[in-house]
Amino acid sequence: MKVVVDFDLCESNAVCMSIAPEVFEVRDDDFLYILNENPGPELHEKVREAVERCPKQAISLEE
């Protein structure tokens, strides 16, 4: 699984960070950083939830 963020859409709402902090981090500069582009299977469900709950539909997965 590869995590892809469309940074033109991302508004740093940080919902993804609350669901999968191992993968997503919004820092003090208010930008989103991807900590782990290829999360392991143990994180897949969390990452899927982050994808669904992104208010901008800015995250996608390449399986």
């Binding site: 508004e11 740093s12 709402n13 940080a14 919902v15 960070m17 609350s18 919004v26 820092r27 003090d28 208010d30 939830e49 669904e52 709950r53 208010p55 539909q57």
Partner: protein, 401 residues
Amino acid sequence: MVAGASLAGTQAAQVIRRDGYDGRLVLVGDERHYPYDRPPLSKSYLTDEVVDEDRLRLRATADPEALGIEWRLGRSAASVDLGRSILVLDDGEELSWDGLVIATGAGPRRLPNQADAPAGVLELRTLDDARRLRAGLEAGPERVAVCGAGFIGAEVAASARERGLEVTLIDAAPAPLDRVLDTAAGMAVADLHRSHGVDVRLGVGVTGFERRGGDGPVRAVTLGDGSTVAADLVVVGIGVAPNTGWLDGSGLTIDDGVVADETTLAAPGVVVAGDVARWPNPRFEGRTMRVEQWDNAVEMGTHAGRRLLAELAGEAGLPFQPVPWFWSDQYDRKIQLAGVVTERHEMVQGSMAEGRFVQIYGDDEGRLRGALCWNRPRQAIQARLLVAEGESIDAARERLG
């Protein structure tokens, strides 16, 4: 069977399918569009030079065939027979179900005389509404009046202003967003709009409309204090009411929403989700909530879908105990509220004057219950987690300050 094809209903359908249900799945939606995302309708849909409606489509059903859903679009649920497990549509079609998700959402509240309002008086809930409003804004009105300074009204006012139009924002409450925020925070929203040149009128309600000529389009809004506000485009955004009329007499409990238990179950085999649903949230001492927010629609749709599958498998359900969270974009401000607002508030970072702050809300036991953040997205989400963990105000001040 899913009644309601917007965010909550679509999400429930997606979860039901993904978690292994392979039977018949019917999605009923009263709009003729495939499910789409509503938040942009009051913001980018109105301000962008070019709009691409395909981008509004909800991703889960971007390919309508993907989930094996039988669509009933442009049709609405008319009644339900719980005893026979039958959903009746407006055209008389009867659909029998093993499980039912009720996610029929909410519809705009209207002014008493709005049905007879002149041309040029619009509302905003659906994509069709947004098309009309965008066309109205593109026509270059001389003056726009927005009746109601809730989220929709405030965002529409900001969008109209960004298009360079003259805007008056009117609300009977003492401050904008009065149902959601404390008055001081609401006044900061009023200041934000005033600083962008909006004429903000508070504490005075709209009583009617004046027409151009005898039966022409709108030319002014009349207010409770006897004054009038000139406007050739009017947007009424005075909140929404849950769409429960079709359930009168069904045997379900209706009380400003369809009432469910703490697991989102409203009756055997029936779950509820989204704007239409009221349930006791264990996270807030079982206080009943009906949440009209985007993230709740997704989270509750997910929960309700799983709850229904558990029900069908004869298993017990888990409580639904989210910390509500929403965002609103107005001008260059991102306003976010996590949890609930209380009387006990405290600014822990920044200030309203700076337009960038974190204000936290506590209860009498010293626990954190919510946080309001302006242009502080990370802290809003951190606060949401802290509320979920039952953290103290003291800890929150430390972590968010």
